[in-house]
């Protein structure tokens, strides 16, 4: 069973302290940084340039889904993220983004009711994203930063097929659906009792062909879910339309033993399943979040 959203993966060339400081400035707490992690060979089909090692920094906030900064130690493929991320406000270092994107400001308004979303490029990570304009405040008023993830839009080639995958394969619930400018959309939500395991997801019909997305593309590349039975959940993803899924591989991250599977959804989107070793896990250092 999938229990919730563990994190969104955000690519970086290297994990640099400047990048971590930027995330801390947005209200994220860096739970751990781990360098020189062995990259499982099962990830090869999901990387454009396989490197034997990589590094990760796990960053958490009480107000939304966690981010895992992944340093690939290789040049990132430079293109807009397939996953379109809407942040509650512009993270520091965001500049306007000009270029073709699979959705528009109007689409965010119609699907999740967020008006005035702006396209930006989060410069420290070279990550394309969307953000909501900050409310105008009085000069003396302290502005609390809240650059957390509001929602994720997934461009999909075949809405029905993708909806089956997300609803039945992953278990995300349908909130609403509709059409905008002739394109169908479905608003889904993973509502967990733990806020940072929750996420709103919009499947949005696109005319773009799916592309072979990779974990080492720039920007937000993957949604990771917590599972309590990775073998069963991997089988369920394949049953409901995943194009491929790696065998689960064992890792020791932040002193905890865990298993990871990477899967590709019907439109090429990347999903990660994580299962922690339950027995003896406490002796290895406690929970991840």
């Amino acid at each position: 069973m999938i229990l919730g959203v563990d994190h969104l993966a955000l690519s970086s060339n290297h994990i640099l302290s400047a990048g971590l400081r930027n995330l801390q400035d947005q209200g994220y707490c860096v739970k751990f940084v781990q360098d020189e992690l062995t990259n499982s060979e099962t990830k090869k089909p999901f990387l454009s340039c396989y490197q034997p090692i990589h590094s990760v920094a796990y960053c958490q906030t009480d107000r939304g889904v966690s981010l895992e900064l992944t340093g690939h130690d290789a040049p990132l493929k430079d293109r807009p993220s397939w996953y379109q991320i809407l942040m509650e406000s512009a993270p520091d270092g965001t500049k306007p983004f000009a270029g073709d994107l699979p959705c528009s400001s109007k689409d965010w308004e119609v699907t999740v009711g967020c008006k005035g979303a702006l396209a930006g490029l989060w410069d420290p990570f070279h990550a394309q994203l969307w953000y909501l304009p900050s409310p105008i405040t009085k000069k003396q008023e302290k502005v609390v930063k809240n650059a957390t993830v509001r929602a994720v839009l997934v461009p999909v080639v075949d809405l029905e097929r993708s909806n089956t995958f997300w609803e039945k394969g992953i278990g995300v619930r349908r909130i609403n659906d509709g059409h905008v400018d002739g394109r169908g959309w479905v608003h889904l939500a993973w509502k967990s009792l733990i806020p940072r395991w929750s996420l709103e997801i919009i499947l949005f019909e696109t005319e773009s062909k799916s592309v072979p997305l990779c974990l080492d593309d720039s920007g937000f590349t993957c949604i990771a879910f917590l599972s309590n039975n990775i073998i069963q959940d991997r089988a369920r993803l394949l049953e409901y339309g995943a194009l491929e899924a790696s065998e689960s591989s064992e890792h020791l991250i932040n002193k905890k033993r865990l298993w990871i599977t990477i899967a590709r959804g019907p439109s090429g989107e990347l999903i990660e399943l994580i299962e922690f070793e339950k027995e003896n896990a406490r002796e290895l250092g406690g929970g991840r979040n």
Binding site: L3, S192, L226, K256, F276, K278, A281, R282, G287, N289
Partner: protein
Amino acid sequence: MSESAYGEEMQSDQVRGWLIDWFEKRGTNIDKTGESLKSNYFELGLVDSLGLMELMTALEGTFHIRFSEDHFQDPRFSTIQGLSELITELACQKDSKTA
């Protein structure tokens, strides 16, 4: 009180006792009669992601029940009081199916 309702209440007490033990073994003092049975243990930071997985595994093994995604999104799951009710319901459903 009917026999089945009495049995259900007794079972709920047993489950609550088991849950209190589970939390106390992890260093949390539970006020057995007070508000802490109705407090949200996620909000209090008493259970993290790994702790939740351990709790689910232990409950499923001990009470021979199976949680679904629906249970996991049920607000009762987040308090000792609510969770003991939920487990009792699941155990009774299982018993009535096997009877």
